[in-house]
Point group: C2
Chain length 441, copies 2
């Protein structure tokens, strides 16, 4: 378990320009990891750390030979084209490198002059996936999402009896995970039109986003050996934003009895910067439970975790339509929720995932499931916000939306704020939907 | 599409001892690929081809520099520690290497003497997974399995309305896929005991196997570009046997609404030899459809495939209990079915998987779903054979089984036979269940 240390000190300032702005996602207290290269170049991908509007190139820093010992070994691993080898080193290595980077980037650090050459402007770089992702598992941890969506799919039976006992999850597709900035064609699939006797192949008419947190596994577990809920977070490298794109009409027709498949596996988009659990330490809050909720089974319970099992990460979804883009309008906010209201915590998700001996591996991605809040307007998907497509959302341009239209860019933002601490941002994940391909009618 | 050629000639004999036995799985007409090393050694893993009771070491063959050009390049890729690079080369490369190997192993081949040094006895080798598997997708292609299992889970609604339209599938877990010969502890999970109000954590009491074919993707498709049903098989490298281990009590409690998760992801076992589609060419048969079955949607239909869309692969499941092992008894056969009766073909599965633009990659594994025949006693799982655990199966030892017991070894065999052609075997997949770990009550 992490504690607060000198790297969290809200008084810390960096010598890097632009990091003092109170609205920055990436103050010196954050130091999230990503994989970058100069935009449009054929340079090797390598690890980097965001600092203000800049990125510290970790391969370049490694080449300077300023860092020795454990953090030096960790830094050397960050020069790879994915963060997997660094992530596999574990908590002590991650912390040691964070501490060193915090020192190097601090105002007054004697290395500031030489480190300038390892800085890249974030406007000049492009991103790759932070890790080579082996398996992708998507949970369903928001009670509010499960209840609202359940009501649409099963009006008579919205919340299934297992929900408050089992952290429900399913396996997703790893090959189609992309990085923020991607675009993809509206997918086609089988749909059963309302009242029809036979399905048709068509481009989805109910394309949706799902506002999720992505959790990246740092260290795995051996096959057959469950991870205890008390120690589960030790396996977590960090978190990012995740858009679990969904085609609701395809989903409705295909999901029985084995769950969503083509409705989800055409695209999943991640934000490029992975914020470590250590950076999120100041924002721990108690688990979200009502008095009437059942006590979790012992393998999902841990006294110590009850008081700090959740994390208050604010989440927002935005839309930018073609008309907004043409008129220079800003993206319009669609919803605002917090990961704090998730019914199941990160530790519970990992403990559950491994209780049967399933082995997690470095680079595995775990989705939190759509994060919806308890109030109207806090739904983490258009399905929820439009009441299943029945209530169109008015946009500032005079347009309306029930689902995502061609040319729409959907973006999410995430951040933590708390009095007495530096704001920690997750940055942004954005992706744009293109028209369906011709072969899909 | 493959045709019959000189490599299928039933008159072909090999100079390798033991390949003339009519019951061998691995005559010279087969030539399946696997990844091997000497048992217990720390030698590098490398590709091999089964021939009778021997394996031709492809790294050793490559080192002899006997093979040039396209097949030589293919052979060089087979010296890797997985077959991925070879599989990515595509049909022309696979065929060219098959043709060369058929020539080298043929009785009278002048290279026989020198090739002796590249032969390993199958009794002296161990196997690794044939490919680095990115994503694992499991289909549900047996109508008989879907109907029988559907009746157990949903007596009033056994076959869902989408079944004869949609090749139903879900994503499985890649990290827990193991190779034949593995053993694993009985998994634990949440179970809702009959009549209970609250679930409990316990070792599964309804551990089951599922008799499936594994299909290995050779060449992938770009994101957004669907694979047509006419050309889908060009992407398939070959097939093996697959045991999709399942915990039925965990499954019943967790599977709504997102499908099976912990009930399946603790272990999946593959047979070591991958039989190419080219070797299976003589055993093509028409698709299995009744007159009353709906016409598939055009993206799942192809005139040419109707007459040869299916493959008659015989499948058997066996059990070897501890008592059988102690008394030297042979494994007892539990069921016999054929992949021929699958409702959805391999080409249909791939075309469906990609119709939404989902990208398949070299090394992806596709499970056929449990292959059950139409008759009683042809169920591809104990759930079916024991009528949901209600009718115990008598064993020759006087024991009975409703589900798999600790110490049981479950094995599958698969093969093709047809008058006028050499028998083509898939070999065997076997795995043994160990007692639950102590921490799982």
């Amino acid at each position: 378990m992490y504690g607060l240390n000198a790297t969290h000190d809200p008084a810390l300032k960096s010598w890097v320009a632009g990091t003092h702005h109170p609205g920055t996602d990436f103050p010196i207290q954050n130091l999230p990891f990503g994989v970058v290269r100069r935009r449009g170049s054929s340079e090797p991908w390598r690890g980097a750390v965001a600092i203000g509007g800049q990125a510290l190139d970790l391969a370049a820093l490694h080449a300077l030979r300023l860092v020795r010992g454990t953090p030096g070994d960790a830094l050397e691993a960050c020069a790879d084209e994915t963060l997997n080898r660094f992530m596999a080193l574990g908590q002590a290595a991650w912390s040691s490198l964070r501490e060193v980077l915090s020192g190097l980037l601090r105002a007054g650090a004697p290395q500031a002059a030489i480190l300038q050459q390892a800085l890249l402007s974030q406007s000049e770089i492009e991103f790759s996936l932070p890790a080579r992702i082996g398996d992708f598992t998507d949970f369903y941890s928001s009670l509010h999402h499960a209840t609202t969506v359940g009501r649409l799919f099963r009006p008579d039976n919205p919340l299934l009896p297992n929900y408050k006992w089992v952290p429900i999850a399913y396996h997703g597709r790893a090959s189609s995970i992309g990085i923020s900035g991607q675009s993809f064609a509206r997918p086609a699939g089988q749909v059963l039109p309302a009242g029809a006797a036979r399905p048709e192949l068509m481009a989805t008419r109910r394309l949706d986003y799902e506002l999720e947190l992505g959790i990246l596994v740092g260290t795995g577990n051996a096959p057959g050996i469950a991870v205890s809920v008390d120690r589960a977070e030790e396996h977590v490298f960090g978190v990012c934003l995740l858009n679990d794109w969904s085609a609701r009409d395809i989903q409705a027709w295909e999901y029985q009895p084995l769950g969503p498949f083509l409705a989800k596996n055409f695209a999943t988009t991640l934000s490029p910067w992975v914020v470590t659990l250590e950076a999120l330490e100041p924002f721990r809050v108690p688990w979200s439970r009502e008095a009437a909720d059942p006590q979790p089974l012992p393998y999902l319970d841990a006294r110590e975790m009850r008081s700090r099992g959740a994390i208050d990460i604010q989440l927002e979804a935005y839309i930018l339509t073609e008309r907004m883009r043409a008129t220079g309008a800003a993206p319009q906010r669609l919803s605002h929720s917090s990961f704090q209201s998730a019914y199941w915590s990160i530790a519970q998700m990992l403990a559950h995932h491994t209780i049967n001996g399933c082995n997690l591996q470095t680079g595995d991605l775990i989705g939190s499931g759509t994060q919806s809040g308890p109030q109207a307007g806090q739904g983490g998907s258009l399905l929820e916000l439009s009441a299943g497509g029945k209530q169109a959302l008015p946009l500032t341009t005079g347009e309306t939306r029930t689902f995502v239209a061609d040319g729409d860019t959907i973006s999410f933002r995430g951040w933590c704020e708390k009095s007495g601490y530096a704001r920690i941002g997750l940055g942004e994940v954005a992706a744009t939907v293109l028209p369906a391909r011709q072969n899909a009618k």
